[in-house]
Symmetry: C4
Subunit: 265 residues, 4 copies
């Protein structure tokens, strides 16, 4: 097996039939996570200033790693199956979503040498991890969860609508009742929406809260509604998963019986 073929197998994700990532892909995932970590920590002034030099070196090293990986992938692209010429296979990889994300990550990693304060941009690296995970067993679980949620999408839409109506009524109610007492917090419905969402999700910062008796009654209703609006989607999701697991089991049982029936003949 040539070096190029080996590179292809190691880098082009999803090559292993058991859904496990290859060693090189694992290393790339760890490099991205490390680069992400350095990028996050480097936004902290207390760390950035004393270690400015070290951070720059690390950023450059990560940029080089991603660049190398990108070039290796272009180099190994012709190993893909297909009748096209080597050149067209390479171009095809470069304009594919994964190729573009790869390029983006390289550019973003080398950006601090050109653009100042590119910290937020670098969160784009998350996309890169997602693009690798897309081919692993992780992705199968993700698809299953997505399918289970999509199957009950109308039920979840009902929950979302109920939440929306409750938030709107709560905000309108407090605007009506305490709008003139606490104008800063409830002086308009958009302002009151902040309070309504933070209460319905049971976060409850306590920066704004009703202080009159009718306002507190509305507040209690929204808070109780919040508990129900956790219970409802959770119940729906639980039922969807339970159902999906049962169907899979039955499908597997049926497939097994068919195999047995065939071997009997």
């Amino acid at each position: 097996m040539t070096l190029r073929a080996r590179l292809h197998r190691e880098l082009h994700i999803g090559s292993w039939p058991n859904g496990k990532l290859t060693l090189l892909n694992k290393l790339v995932v760890w490099a991205i996570l490390a680069a992400l970590g350095v990028g996050i920590v480097a936004t902290e002034p207390n760390i950035r200033e004393p270690y400015q030099h070290e951070i720059l070196i690390a950023e450059f090293a990560f940029g080089m790693i991603f660049l190398l990986e990108y070039l290796a992938r272009i180099y190994a692209a012709p190993e893909r199956e297909g009748p096209e010429s080597d050149f067209s296979k390479r171009v095809k990889f470069m304009v594919s979503p994964i190729g573009l994300i790869d390029l983006l990550v390289v550019l973003v990693s080398l950006a601090p040498f050109f653009i100042a304060n590119a910290a937020v941009l670098r969160v784009i690296r998350l996309l890169r991890i997602v693009s690798i995970l897309k081919f692993s067993r992780f992705s199968a679980a993700m698809r299953e969860i997505g399918a289970a949620l999509r199957e009950r999408s109308y039920d979840l839409l009902v929950c979302a609508t109920l939440a929306f109506v409750l938030v709107l009524l709560g905000a309108a109610g407090l605007y009506w009742v305490e709008g003139s007492i606490q104008p800063e917090a409830f002086g308009s419905i958009p302002r009151a929406l902040w309070w309504a969402v933070i209460t319905l999700t049971t976060v409850g910062y306590g920066d704004v809260y009703p202080i009159t008796t009718p306002g507190r009654m509305i507040g209690m209703l929204v808070a109780i509604g919040g508990v129900l609006l956790v219970a409802l989607p959770t119940g729906i999701v639980a039922a969807a998963f339970s159902d999906a697991m049962q169907r899979r089991r039955k499908a597997m049982k049926k497939a097994l019986e068919e195999i047995e029936a065939k071997t009997d003949l």
Copy 2:
């Protein structure tokens, strides 16, 4: 097909057999959402004052749209099935709940030209959306959820009663323990109820909280009770949904088998 027949099919919701909304109905839903949005945003003084003119125009335009739709519905009403005369069919629509909600929405949309500060009134438009959704697939999901909850209504009532008792005991406990220390927050059971509900729902604003050791012990119990009172109804709801989905599957399987049995004959 006459224009009137087409109008009827487009406007009278639920005409499509697949449960999808017709184009005109979709437009009406979006118009209501837009009108709702404008109404909400217009309560914000920082926006209302500079854009007073634009908001007035938008409100008027929405009012006109809803008026037009209302008149078109009255015009198309005779297309309904039934032996009554055109006039009696139109009156029947006008006094039906949907007709009345329609009229209300028109009046409410044109209200700011007659009444000052009608913002809260306009939340009534939500009703209008509900009246359209009533005939879509959304509504089937809503009915299913309602049915699942109704089936376990006694279980949920037990949860509500437990919550009620826990809130009452918590409020009475803190009134007893900290009533004289924090009279503003716990000086009476109704005052302490605010704290109890906000704690049990795990919102926890932090505007009032116990400060003595016995008060904090009661607070911990109510907080722990809050976690259980999320778990209990969620579990019940999940089981109800799971059960409903299984029954539906079995019913479908049985119906299928019956059809097969018939075709065999």
Copy 3:
């Protein structure tokens, strides 16, 4: 049917085979709820002082109603089945738990005329409602929930132990890390426990919270643990309910089939 027999049927809860409360029992439940409401509201100084006279009258009236009901129950007690004499049946009722709760409620309702500030005592009336509900369909649901929870009691115990360990570790951690920085909040493990419980239950008042980086890391772990410790018992409870519902359905199906098999013979 004599008056005494009617009284017995109306008052002695659980007489109806369909699990519904009799009219008189419903009235008693409402009277207790009303008395409870008056008792709660009367703790509020802003209401107690101006309406002192009205509250006293209401309290007296409720006391009389409960006294009357108690006497009527004693009078009707001989209608119970059994070979004992009328007198022994009456004594038996008076010393039964329900009879004693009845007496307690009467005494508590008339207490304000003898003892000052008996507000907290009157929460005992809740017991009375429970004693009535014990015989209704409500109670069947309560028993089912209890059975489902008891069946998974070891799983729930594991959750409780995990929560206990997490709370203890969190409190010990913050005592260790921030005990000298925020002595008022974390100066000892018992003090830090308040923070740990309020965080793990995701209430989060915000009266105490970590301010150092290691303290915040512990805080994040406890907060994340809180989400898991909601998910775990909820999942267990959901599975228990789902299982209980399925078993009941199968038992009903089996019973039905047996009846059909008998009728076939």
Copy 4:
């Protein structure tokens, strides 16, 4: 039966076939809990100072109990099954994890006489309880929960990853939007992470919160994401438990049928 054999049976956990702890083991559990309680309470200055003497005595007594138990276990170790000599069995116990934990607890309990402020160390006693519970019915429930979670580990990993991404995006967003307005709270991504985690877990202390409109919008999204990230793992866990219970029931049914089939022959 010799005293040594009895000691062995009483002390070496898991000897009873019904999964119940022996009397001596129960006493040891209670002693550990009591020692843990004394250790926790003793960190409170208001209690430690006036009761310094009593606490010292209690600590010493607990230390002696654990020492005695440790010695008794070494003494009874030769009763274990196996062909080794008494001495090698004793050494084997002493270097086993349980033996080492035992020794550690003894040392930790007697530590305050040598080291000052050893409070945090003593939480190690929790390990001791776990090591006893390992052999009881409690442990079976723990294994079942662990198995159910492990089976869905990829689904739960997806949830954790989603939570991680949401926290990161939320923190990066607020750093971007409010980093210069509230530098203390959002001046770097690591600082903003504290807010993001406390919001996503719906704890919501309220020590830091967004104050601008775009910041609040991000805050709302994180809060709503928090509700979904409770619903998702809960649903997965519920389905896993439901599935585990069903499989166990089927396995038991099958085993029963096999037994019946054998007895028929």
